[in-house]
């Protein structure tokens, strides 16, 4: 849990701030340009969901360094209304906000791991991880 950082999402500008910080961390960790774009885009979608549905929340960044692999964990937390129908929220093309913040299924495809915990009236926590593809031998 070294090097943890976070961005509070309170306004539209914070969406840009979150993805810029995320991109910088991803770059530092050694992700290539395509994975940087995937991570940045996923952060943008998560931050926008917070802004649109909960009004405010936070995005945490947490470099992961296991014995076997390195990666970046991104956690999006809000204390908003929660997601009413998680199964539908994970369907492609389903959105309750007129096509904005389209992407939970997209976010899942962009990242390697995806966990969602949501309870009505209490809020939503989404945890995603992108692993660094690193060749250890040769």
């Amino acid at each position: 849990m070294e090097n943890e950082s976070s961005v509070k999402i309170l306004s539209e500008w914070d969406i840009v701030a979150a993805r810029q910080l995320g991109r910088n961390i991803a770059k530092e960790l050694g992700f290539g340009t395509v994975d940087q774009a995937r991570i940045t885009t996923a952060i943008s979608e998560l931050a926008r969901n917070i802004y649109l549905y909960a009004g405010k929340g936070e995005i945490h960044f947490e470099p992961v360094n296991n014995f076997e692999k390195k990666g970046l964990k991104v956690i999006a937390v809000d204390h908003g209304p929660g997601i009413q129908d998680i199964r539908r929220a994970m369907e492609d093309g389903f959105s309750t906000s007129n096509g904005l913040g389209a992407g939970l299924p997209g976010v899942r495809r962009l990242m390697d791991e995806f966990d969602l915990i949501s309870s009505l009236g209490e809020g939503t926590t989404i945890r995603v991880v992108k692993w660094l593809r690193e060749r250890k031998f040769g």
Partner: protein, 128 residues
């Protein structure tokens, strides 16, 4: 942070190069100012160059798709140029295909589509 995106006139075309990360407000402002410029100049075609853009999320994609539909309603054709490999990959993974949108590899090819295929003047031609 009010960053206006310059919209340049090239004969019967308008040329826009998006040079920095788009925030929501700038994207919406861009939509309105592009349509306004189309109206003022009577342009028939638009090239939006995205060479310097390293991320397009669902919101920006929607704004771009919408402005292209709006321009179409005004009788104007739009070409998107210079979409980076990383952006193309993330857009498709995100589930956004921008299917009815004209695209070209780079600005040159975009202008060629406008002038060559659609007959919209984008550069000075010598009279035959």
């Amino acid at each position: 942070m009010n960053t206006r995106i310059p919209i340049l006139k090239l004969y019967d075309c308008l040329f826009v190069s998006i040079q920095w990360e788009l925030d929501d407000k700038t994207a919406i402002e861009f939509q309105e100012s592009l349509l306004q410029r189309i109206h003022e100049t009577g342009a028939s075609g638009v090239v939006i160059d995205l060479t310097s853009v390293d991320m397009i999320d669902s919101f920006i994609a929607k704004v771009l798709g919408d402005v292209i539909s709006m321009a179409k309603l005004m009788g104007v054709k739009v070409v998107l140029t210079g979409i980076q490999p990383a952006v193309a990959i993330t857009l498709v993974e995100l589930g956004i295909h921008l299917q009815d949108v004209h695209t070209a590899l780079d600005l040159e090819k975009g202008l060629e589509i406008l002038q060559g295929s659609w007959g919209i003047k984008a550069w000075k031609t010598n009279p035959l």
